[in-house]
């Protein structure tokens, strides 16, 4: 049985169809993401799972039970909000105990302390949210939800408000926590790197629909649409065929076989372990190749042949 199943879920707001027929099924214990640009309906979808919005049509099932009409407090799912939404009048510990108290769980102090331990925040248990850093608030919000052992944990852009270093660290910890607790995570994000690195499977959304649901390799290497290809990474377009920059090669002589194009180097961007060579195609248009630094040094204005393996082409009907 699926921990979550959405069947043709639609959400309409006045003058706008935010979610336009989403169907999705999640296996227990996985790490899933909804990935898409802002306004694609991913957060609205998450809010319908959490019980904060009611679908206009379609059905939401949790553990096989239809929950369309159930309030958030009647669902065994928990949300980590983008703004964290910590209660300012309660300490970190008080925040983590909140849900346990509401459920009348015995020994909640100990359970709450264990949860704070899990997120490495035991030392801050008695602090109020105003005295916690962004990363620490994030951890309290996580502990507050995890301590309830929900069937499904919903995370709404949880890393968006953190600075880049912290974001990378939290990303690793999120994954570790998911594996350690075995709770199914459903993450909403607009950051493709985040979705690719964290998810077992991800759903790429665009204008209220899921364009593709698959493993990170699937959606990156075998995108189902031009939108998915472009959203997950840069694409060089040669007519109908799209080629990722890292699959794009450059040579000084015309290659003996395989597709190729004449181009001239427009600029070379040094990125440490690799370089990006931007080119202007003789037939018009631009392309970029990502090369290891050690390769042949190209200079601005060099006339080159750009080529690729036909197997690396991405084609869409």
């Amino acid at each position: 049985m699926h921990v979550l199943e959405l069947r043709n879920v639609v959400k309409e707001f006045p003058g706008q169809r935010a979610v336009d027929g989403v169907t999705l099924a999640l296996e227990r214990g996985g790490f899933y993401s909804l990935l898409g640009p802002s306004g694609c309906g991913k957060t609205t979808t998450l809010r319908m799972v959490g019980g904060f919005e009611k679908p206009s049509s379609g059905d939401v099932f949790l553990n096989g039970e239809r929950v369309n009409e159930r309030k958030p407090y009647e669902r065994n799912v928990s949300t980590v909000f983008q703004s964290y939404a910590l209660f300012p009048h309660l300490t970190a510990l008080g925040n983590v105990e909140f849900g346990l108290r509401e459920r009348g769980v015995a020994g909640r102090r100990e359970l709450a302390m264990n949860a704070l331990e899990l997120v490495k925040l035991s030392a801050r248990a008695q602090r109020f949210p105003a005295a916690l850093s962004g990363g620490e608030k994030q951890r309290v919000a996580l502990a507050r939800s995890l301590v309830l052992e929900p069937q499904l944990l919903l995370l709404d852009e949880p890393l968006a408000a953190l600075d880049p270093d912290l974001r990378k660290q939290m990303r690793a910890e999120l994954k570790a926590m998911q594996r350690q607790t075995g709770i199914t995570f459903l993450l909403v994000t607009h950051d493709q790197e985040e979705a690719l690195s964290l998810s077992d499977k991800l759903a790429v959304m665009n204008s209220g629909r899921i364009e593709q649901f698959g493993t990170p390799e699937d959606v990156y290497l075998r995108p189902a649409s031009a939108f998915v290809a472009g959203f997950l990474g840069a694409v060089n377009w040669f007519g109908d065929a799209g080629v990722r920059p890292e699959a794009t090669r450059i040579a000084r002589e015309r290659p003996a076989e395989g597709p190729s194009r004449r181009a001239s180097v427009a600029s070379v961007v040094f990125l440490g372990n690799r370089v990006h060579v931007h080119m202007a195609l003789d037939e018009g248009g631009r392309a970029v190749a990502e090369l290891p630094r050690a390769q042949d040094q190209f200079r601005e204005g060099d006339a080159v042949w750009l080529h690729w393996n036909a197997a690396d082409e991405m084609r869409f009907p």
């Binding site: 958030p72 928990s78 909140f98």
Partner: protein, 276 residues
């Protein structure tokens, strides 16, 4: 720095002339002796303050505190749900706020007189109850503590609703969603999140009601019919009928001091809470 002085100058002059100077005069008067035809005379004395300890005046003081506290409690009980309703009314917020402010378009005096017409023997309430044969003789609704309380709550309710609304309107809706998400039903969310988080607003609104209620004199005068004497009436009487300015000054100073102490205490506890 100079500009700052220039801009502050009018406010300073105003406060000096119309606040500090009268206060100093009242202070001085309270330690003097009553003149034969009003006014004040030497010698200096503490007697005006010791007289306030008389059971007669202590009863007035106690009644004032009790009525002001009751009126404040009623304003909180009636005003909090109203403010919460308005804060969640979406587009209609402004309309409801205007309705709350509507009574301010007429004078305080007129509004209080209106209550005479509602509560008197031949007033609205008694006429309706009698014509429906619920009662035979008119009820004595006027000239008692109940009437004073009704008048005070009516007049000061907006002073609670407005700051309360401002607080509740700023309440992050995500907090309410988080509470529901963690299993709290609406009543539990009210008790465990909305009320504690908006406590500074509740306290601020309660102070804004309690202090003017404590010193009220027009409402008890009109609706209490001289039978429900509060501190404000005592002060007024001393300056008018009794012509005992020093005692009136002492009574008003005590009133001010009590209000100031209360305010200082609350400010301190709020500040302490916010620093944690």
């Amino acid at each position: 720095m100079n500009l700052r002085r220039i801009f502050l100058f009018p406010a300073r002059v105003w406060m000096a002339l119309f606040f500090a100077a009268p206060l100093a005069i009242v202070c001085g008067y309270s330690f003097l002796t009553r003149g034969e035809y009003g006014g004040v005379e030497q010698p200096w004395t503490f007697e005006n303050f010791t007289r306030l300890a008389d059971p007669l005046y202590l009863a007035i003081l106690w009644r004032s505190v009790r009525i002001a506290a009751l009126a404040t409690g009623l304003c909180v009980a009636l005003g909090f749900p109203l403010a919460l309703f308005i804060a969640r009314a979406g587009k209609r917020r402004n309309l409801y706020l205007q309705l709350v402010l509507l009574p301010f378009w007429t004078s305080f005096l007129v509004r209080t007189y209106a209550w005479l017409f509602i509560l008197r023997d031949t007033g609205l309430v008694n006429t309706v109850l009698q014509s429906l044969h619920i009662i035979d003789a008119p009820l004595q609704l006027l000239y008692n503590e109940g009437a004073v309380l009704a008048g005070l709550v009516y007049n000061f309710l907006p002073f609670f609703v407005l700051p309360m609304y401002a607080t509740l309107e700023r309440l992050d809706p995500a907090l309410l969603e988080a509470a529901a998400d963690l299993g709290a039903r609406p009543l539990a969310t009210l008790r465990r999140v909305i009320i504690p988080v908006s406590m500074p607003g509740i306290v601020a609104g309660a102070v804004l009601v309690f202090i003017p209620c404590l010193g009220a004199y027009l409402t008890p005068d009109l609706l209490g019919g001289g039978k429900t004497v509060m501190l404000g009436n005592l002060v007024q009487n001393q300056f008018t009928t009794a012509r005992d300015w020093p005692f009136g000054s002492a009574a008003s100073l005590v009133l001010m001091l009590a209000s100031a102490l209360l305010l200082a205490g609350l400010m301190r506890s709020r500040v302490r809470k916010e620093l944690m």
